[in-house]
Subunit: 317 residues, 6 copies
């Protein structure tokens, strides 16, 4: 039996080496990147039997995506299509005050036309968990409908559902996002969201504990996980609050930190861990991710365990 | 006064290093590439006062294109837009039997919405020559209309027009191409076309001389230049036939050979050369281009002259 | 049901870029390489449901191997071990007269201690075909025994067995090889061998047809495939001779040509192809392989089909 | 009308990648670099109609310089010469205590023989501003004379003149510098100098305000800008003092920080900004420059504006 | 006369670029690395007439080692052998919490069979100093014996001996190490050891001064140098204690810091420096080393002197 | 005793990767290159006890040269100087008709001021052979005198002298060269020259045999070796003619072919080989050189022997 199915867009990420500018670079580094496959790889590497599904162009570019994801040990089950592009994004890294700059080039990606009927929904029905994020319904009207159908399908089959709000201002406004996302929440068991998105998009108010409790009550979530950036995370699970601070890390590439957190959180929950253990596992994996180039947490359970142990023993490695 | 204005799409070309496959590459080389800017750079470097115009996204990717073109000494005059993507193409190089593989990702490029009114048409009216190719009207209905307007504008102002048929089977069928292109020919003075496109697209028949003469007569072209691949080129100019063989070359990157030929041909015509001299200049520049990575003929007049001299003296350099 | 199981060592291949020398290089390119995984990837990409098994160190180096193999779409089922090294080989590429130079550093690799009992023999029993090569028994006494057991296990279960002689003079002498290999042949259905190895190692004599027939008769092989280098291949299948010439190719990296041939041959046989079709499919895949960096034929069925069609139509692509 | 003309040497900068040492590197990164072209690019990118002039060898190396400068959108107007080398400098980057090491190899560069008569002085006469720096007269006796002539030409035509003291101890002693530079000051409107050069070379004394006022009074400068390293800058303009602190930055490549400051300062002054606004604009551009590899501030007005806004709003981007 | 002979294994170090993981890298950087050659290069570059000896495979890989060592100006005198591998190690660099990961692949290296008789012992006898480290006897029983013989040989000839404890937990246990090492100490004049190894391996107790004094007294060392990580070093020489703090440094590659310290310490002692001067010279060289990629301190006496002067003058360069 | 001393300039060679143009490259590959050190390395690697001397700047660039030469196993004995530059040359590789383009930037190199008195002439006096080439006296008047002195010194001490004419049209005219070189010939035992230089510079006439005989007689050379490009070489030794054809080779980098020939020729002569054997050894080494990037023949005696054997046995490796 599959532990976890995730669904969403995976792009090709193109970045100049070092601190070079996109305007002048003669070379781009190529990697696969997407919230739902980032989560899937982290979960798979940490012990969950995971499969990622999506819709990709039947081309070397589509194969570039699955090739990399499979290299991390993930099972992929994409639909291949002769229509639609391979979505890409360009990212230029720099320190402050220049900061990191992202240009999305994902319009008309093959995945934007993905209907639930063409996707391997039986894998979702048979799985323990299903995961997608708020990026998916934002990509097209078709995907809005597909996301709804997949979440309903999972619920209907007794598959638990986890959802990361993942608000992207380049895709829609807070108002548009709120309307669509709140319509999806009835089929969601576990909501993960940055606290600022809870405020800006969902209109949550009050201190963090109040926000978590409020969301859980309003939408009937079994679990709400608020991510707090440098301050860690806070969960409200069946009415109980748990807090988790971050682990110290020297950041090499911050992209994908949240996805690493969620993937590890789910892997630990699937393995029977309690909320506190899952938050800690997520935070340790997130700290490791930040040392690794690319969007994806190429880690091992031993490494994550080592981070937790080292912190507990108060000894820096 | 400007000698030559060219108009058309310039893409970002992305290619894996060496013989690597797109499916597995971790790196892409980045270059600017487009028939009309390829022609413009070749002409500019060989002495013609040339300007290239187009429509580009107002982004680091759009600037990547002008940055590279300006680096070759070309004047660029693009319209910048907040709408539309930067077109790209992926190219994987290999010897036979694998061959070179191209994936276009140019749909919805900013240029596809370029209207004549927003372009610097006064530059065309003041110029001696205007050049575009059959790729341009194939990209969108708007561009079909724009191409027609620009050719008419040139003619109206006494600017000579050169047009490379440049048939691309990934953009339209021979029938679609023929209908549109023949509509444009009344405003074209110089037609350049591969002989096989003359046959497949325009339905030309007979031997090469007959094809060149036939096209010239049917559409009233002052000059028809047929490119013949390894066999060189043949021109029918005011009823007179001139032939040009190719110069020997060791091919490193064949893309852009035809554009190098046209750019050099036009530069020589602008400088007062006769048809035979212009064909020879084009063929020598094309031979140099094949030794240079990228779509663009980064050459000097001295180098082109040297190729011609060396061949004449029968001495290999 | 699995179509094909292969077993053997996969090394990490380390090669200086371009024509650089090992003695002076500051950089090495890293790839996974091994006859049995080369065959497995080729077969898997060409449609056969294939799994590769071996024994690897439980380390980042062992994972480097599976990571790359999985990236090509192959299922891997290695045993992981805390004992034994990751085998490597260094390869320096150059044209003649320097030639290509190989340094094996594979002694005490984890795989050399692999016993049949720890390997997934049930996968072999359930599969249609099993494949290994003459490199495997040459690596250690344990592997000599394991090879024998696996071939017997396959036969016992009705799984067909294919075996590539793959003589390596750095591993054993022709005499040692002959003694061991001939002991294995009773459980082999399909023997593939370079004709010069048939002569030097097995003592075969006569013209090629006679050699193929002789080997088939002597050891009761259903099929003998002789590879003839630039002259192609020749098979004796159930007493009938079939010949196949090579396809023209521009060689970028010749390593793994034979493995690409065998993988494609087996994929076509598994798909129901006759011997002639399988030889042709193998030869076309081998031609493509030579254009691809690394040991492995990263190809698609469409590409292999295209090579055959192009050759049939007499048209170079 | 041209806003700004700059004149000075541009070198080819050669640097080992990463922290590698010149003594052992197998590779050098290549960039164009020179105080006056650094200033020119910064000014041009920030809206000033700028042209850079110099004397370069008529060779691929000379073209390497203009090629890169034009790629940033700068107009170049160099004199080309068959005499004289292309100046280069080698730079090895490292953290403390090794520090950054520079080796100049600029003797006998083509520019050292540049006479005012061969330079496009009409461009200077027609421009609003002219800029050069104290490096230029230090390079040769000819250039000492040329610098004097150009500054006089500018003044004579009503073109404002800006001059950065830019003392280089590898080129001359403080005493030699003082004698030459003070002779030039009568034709300078705006002097920029590091405070330590004002002290060491010009013998200025007192606190910073006193130094700025003193220089302005002594030489009749309209504006004196003292750069203070990490403490920012201080200007005395028509007797009034303005201070500017630095913006926070994560330094990737510090070379060219001062030139970025000056280029942006001039662009803002040309656009009508007051001294305070110009200092702020300069400081923000300098902060961005430090995140960019190479000597040159490849920035946009939007980026510079964004740095200022972010600092004002107290929000880190 | 030779100032210093060192003996020990030099490996080929293979590291992914940047922060990449071994599991997924496509490229490895190649360098020579080994405690005793690290020490030898540092000493040689700082003025000591130094020769390094070892046993290497007679292959391009063995030559890769000597090639790099000779490039730093070191004299090498290895025995070449047709038996035994070239030892390698893989190192993956990352910040915390991932940390730096090392995989040794040095078993059965040619050096493990090196007997004293085949080594150039006359060079040791004629030298002023001999140096090896605790890694050497840990590599094989043969090397345990060889180390003992070489130290005895040196002593017997009046050559001073220096020994770095260099405990490696991947090679042996503290107990095994202690037994072997204490047997060697009677022929050692100068012991260098990290204080934590003194405690864990040798069972030293008390504060640092007590540990140094205790070791000196127990084993009759003329000098004991304790390295204290970020806290610097402490020496007990003929009963007198000297302390040395570290110099500030921006770490690029920390590997080999201790060896740089020892090499410079010995060079200064050989040049007649006192213990305090030698410790300071060692600490300054160690600080420089940390800015340099690779295991080896590619420095000059001018640079080391510059670090000391800059610190004394309180002026950061 | 030293077998061979060579004296001459070694430059830093800077070349764009692949077929890139100098005008647009962002990267240069760095190598040491110079006729006399090329010869010295080839001779040293093939068994001759060789030392190269020259004058270099006392800088990281000067050390870059010795570092690389020592890495090939050559002993270097340069004089270090605070005056004079490090000579460089830029080389752009391409196939025909573009061809390979060289830009020398060697004026005022430190070596141009080298006087015989500061060079290690005692090494020449003690050596069996001394070698320099016609490039050396062309570099400066000082070097013209120094070359004369060194050749005389060698003769005076009974050291045999070998001299390669190595005419460089960028350094002097044929007439200038002839006058200087013929003045040196009285102290030369072995002259090597391309046949076309013998004709163009020395005015030799007749067929090749006549040219070789004529030069030998006119100047009293013991040996004259004419190199004939693709046709091999021809020697006149003590009146007897020997011919040598070239070995087949796939050219990767042709620079330094002649120096590899000379270095191997001298090594074989030093080892007691006859003229025929030395020519064959030279030709085989030259063939290997062409497969190796850079100016220098990084070869082994086994490889050279292998080339000769393979050719003799008629078997391609």
């Amino acid at each position: 039996m599959t532990d976890l199915v995730t669904f969403g867009e995976t792009m090709i990420r193109l970045s100049p080496p070092g601190n070079e500018r996109l305007e002048t670079t003669t070379e781009l580094e190529v990697r696969a990147a997407g919230a739902e496959s980032n989560v899937a790889v982290a979960a798979a590497r940490l012990g969950a039997d995971t499969v990622w599904t999506s819709k990709l162009p039947d081309s070397p570019l589509g194969r570039r995506v699955t090739s990399e994801l499979e290299s991390y040990g993930l099972e992929t089950a994409p639909v291949l299509s002769d229509e639609g592009r391979q979505g890409t994004y360009y990212i230029e890294f720099a320190g402050e005050p220049r900061g990191t700059d992202v240009i999305y080039d994902r319009a008309d990606a093959a995945v934007t036309s993905a209907h639930a009927e063409e996707l391997p929904t039986e894998r979702i029905r048979e799985a323990e968990w299903f995961y997608t994020s708020g990026i998916t319904p934002a990509l097209s009207e078709t995907l809005e409908e597909t996301t709804e159908t997949l979440l309903w399908t999972a619920r209907d089959a007794g598959t638990k559902t986890a959802f990361d709000l993942n608000y992207r201002s380049k895709l829609w406004s807070p108002e548009e996002a709120r309307e669509v996302l709140e319509g999806l929440f009835e089929d969601v068991d576990v909501l993960v969201t940055a606290v600022r998105d809870a405020e800006n998009v969902l209109g949550a108010e009050g201190d963090r504990e109040a926000i978590a409790r409020g969301l859980a009550e309003e939408h009937g979530f079994e679990t709400v996980v608020l991510t707090l950036g440098a301050e860690g995370a806070l969960a409200c699970h069946e009415g109980e609050i748990t807090r988790q601070s971050t682990f110290e890390t020297e950041t090499h590439d911050p992209i994908g930190t949240g996805d690493a957190f969620v993937g590890a959180f789910l892997a630990k929950r699937i393995a029977g861990g309690d909320i506190g253990g899952a938050l800690e596992y997520g935070a340790a994996t997130a700290a490791l991710k930040r040392t690794i180039p690319g969007d994806i947490a190429v880690v091992t359970p031993e490494e994550v365990g080592g981070v937790i142990e080292a912190a507990e023993s108060g000894i820096s490695r």
